[in-house]
Symmetry: C2
Subunit: 324 residues, 2 copies
C-alpha cells in the first residue's frame, strides 16, 4: 500500500529521503484517481522549493554513445559534489515493456554513486503524458536537492521538442561517419540545440570529426541567426579520454551564466511554464475528444473517406466536432 498523507511525502522529499522520493514518483505515475489527487497536493506544496537546478536535456540517436556520455558526465559531476538526477523521456517504454534506463547496469558507475539518482522513463499513453510525468519528477528531484538534472530523450516522435521545452540547455550528440559525413541528425533537431557535441572525437576518428565540425558550423550559422547572448557552439568530446566531457559542461555553465546575466534564463523558464500549461490543455482537449465513444468509432471510417476524396477535410472535421 502506498502511504497517502501528503505531509509525509513533502517532508520526506525536502529531506532528500530516497524511499519517499521513489514513493512520490510512484504516486505521480499511478493512474488511480486518489493517487493523482495526492500527487497533485504534493506537487503544489513543493513548487516553492523547485527551480534551483541546472536542467540539461540530451538527445542523440542510438549509436552516438549517449549512455556512456551521460554516465561519464554524471560521474564527473557527482565526484565534484553535485547531486545529479538522470531522467528519461521515452514514449515507447510502455510498448517494449521496459525502458531505455530500466537496465541500470547501463550506467553502472553512475547508479552506484551516492550523489546520483537514475530514474527510467515513466510509461504513458501519450508523449504528452510521459513528458508531463518526467517534468513533475524533475521538480521532485529539485525539491529534494538535486542541482543537476539530466533529461535524456531517445528521439522518438516529438520527444526532443518536449524535452527541449523543459530544460535550460538542450544538447545534441552526434558522431562523424566513416567518411566525413555526420551521423545521427534528425530533421528539426539542430534548431532546438543550444549546443552540439560531436562524440567519439578520439584516435583515428579525429580527422573525420574535424571535417564534420567545420561543415556543421557552416550549417548552424545558416540555420540559427546569431544572438547577442549565444550562438550554438559545435564542440567535440570523447568518453574514452579522461575528462573528455569537461568542455561540454563548461559550455553549459557558460550559457547558464550569460543567460542569467541577460535575464533570458528566467524568461525562458517562464515561457516554458506557460507553454507547458497550453500543451497540457491541448492534450486534455484531445483526450476528451478521442475518448468520446461516437467519435472514436467514426474516426477510422471518416479518415478513409478523407484519404479517398469522398469528403473534404473541412466537412470531416465538422462532422467529428458535431459529435461533441
Amino acid at each position: 500500500m502506498i502511504q497517502t498523507d501528503p505531509e509525509l511525502f513533502i517532508q520526506g522529499i525536502l529531506d532528500g529521503n530516497r524511499r519517499i522520493i521513489a514513493k512520490t514518483i510512484t504516486l505521480i505515475e499511478s493512474s488511480l484517481k486518489e493517487h493523482q489527487r495526492n500527487a497533485f497536493t504534493v506537487m503544489d506544496k513543493i513548487l516553492p522549493h523547485t527551480g534551483k537546478s541546472i536542467r540539461l536535456g540530451i538527445t542523440g540517436v542510438p549509436g552516438v554513445g549517449k549512455s556512456t556520455f551521460i554516465e561519464n558526465l554524471g560521474v564527473s559531476l557527482a565526484q565534484k559534489g553535485h547531486k545529479v538526477a538522470v531522467l528519461a523521456v521515452d514514449p515507447t517504454s510502455q510498448r517494449s515493456g521496459g525502458s531505455i534506463l530500466g537496465d541500470k547496469t547501463r550506467m553502472e558507475k553512475l547508479s552506484a554513486h551516492e550523489n546520483a539518482f537514475i530514474r527510467p522513463s515513466p510509461a504513458g499513453e501519450t508523449l504528452g503524458g510521459v513528458a508531463a510525468k518526467t517534468r513533475e519528477i524533475m521538480l521532485i528531484c529539485e525539491a529534494a536537492g538535486f542541482d543537476v538534472i539530466l533529461v535524456e530523450t531517445v528521439g522518438v516522435g516529438q520527444s526532443e521538442t518536449s524535452v527541449a521545452a523543459m530544460v535550460d540547455f538542450f544538447l545534441v550528440l552526434m558522431i562523424a561517419g566513416a567518411g566525413d559525413e555526420l551521423q545521427g541528425i534528425k530533421k528539426g533537431i539542430l534548431e532546438l540545440a543550444d549546443g552540439i557535441a560531436i562524440n567519439k572525437a578520439d584516435g583515428d576518428n579525429l580527422k573525420a570529426v574535424e571535417k564534420a565540425k567545420g561543415d556543421l558550423e557552416i550549417a548552424m550559422h545558416l540555420i540559427c541567426p546569431e544572438s547577442p547572448t549565444w550562438s550554438t557552439p559545435v564542440m567535440t568530446c570523447s568518453s574514452v579520454i579522461d575528462g573528455g566531457t569537461n568542455n561540454i559542461w563548461e559550455m553549459v555553465l557558460d550559457h547558464n551564466k550569460k543567460f542569467k546575466a541577460s535575464g533570458e534564463f528566467k524568461q525562458r523558464r517562464k515561457k516554458q511554464s506557460l507553454e507547458w500549461m497550453w500543451t497540457l490543455v491541448e492534450e486534455g482537449l484531445k483526450q476528451r475528444f478521442k475518448h468520446n465513444e461516437k467519435i472514436n468509432k467514426e474516426i477510422p471510417k471518416i479518415s478513409q473517406e478523407v484519404k479517398n476524396d469522398k469528403i473534404s477535410p473541412s466537412a470531416a472535421a465538422e462532422v467529428l466536432l458535431s459529435y461533441l
Copy 2:
C-alpha cells in the same frame, strides 16, 4: 446581396466564370452562418473536380524579391497557356486592414493577363482560419480550371508550415548578403523546403551567390537525409534576366514527374488531407475552449500565476479544463 443557390455557384465555377468564382470566395470568407452553409454545399459538390493542378508554395522574407519572382514566373507560365492562380496566406492582413496582395499593382503584368487570377489573403481570426479559407479557395480555382496554383506566404507565425501542408512543392526564396552570407532564413523553414532558390543571381552579386549556394548545399545535406526520389536542390535565379525563373519551374516539374512515378505524389496529398482534418479538429477544439466565457476570463490571471510560479502548469491546465 449574395446569390445563394448552390447550383448556380457550382455551374459557374466549373464554367470558369470569374464573377461567380469571386462570389463563391466571398461566401467562403463570410462569417454569416447561412453563407457558410452554402459554401459548404458548394465545396462538397466541386470536390470531385479538384486536385488537377500543380500546387506550388512560395516563401521568403521581405526583401528577397518574392513579388517580382512570382510575377515573372506567373507571366511566363500564363504565356505558355497555363491558367495561373496566385493566392496568399497572410494572417496579419486583417490587422493591417490590407493585404500583401491587396495592391494588385504589385503584380501589374500578371494581374492584367487573361490566364491569371490573383487573390489577396483572406482575413481571419486565426492562422488556421486564414489557411483553411486559402485551401478552399485553392480548390475552387482548381475546379475552375486553373492548373497552376501559386500560394504565397509572408512567413508570419507558423504560416509556412500551413502553406507547406497544402502544396505539392514548397519553394524557399533567399538572397546572398553583401558579404557571402545568406539572408532571409527563418528557423525551421529549410526543413520544409522541397527546393531552394537564391534570388538576385545577377551582375555583381554572382560571386556572393555562388559562395552562398555552396554553404547552403552543405547545410541541406546535413539537415535533409537523401531520399531515393528527391534531395532538396539549391538553385539560383534572377528576375532581371530573361527566362531567369525557367530553371525553377523545371525543378518543380521534375519533382512532380518523379513523385508521380513513385506514388509519393498521391500519398503526400492523402496525408495532407488527413492532417488537414486534424488541424481543423484541433482548431475547433481550441476555439470552443477559448470562447468559453469563464475560461476566457480566467486565462490572463492564471497565465500570470503560472509565470510567477504561484501555480504549477499542470494545476493551471487542470483548472482551465475543469471549466469546460
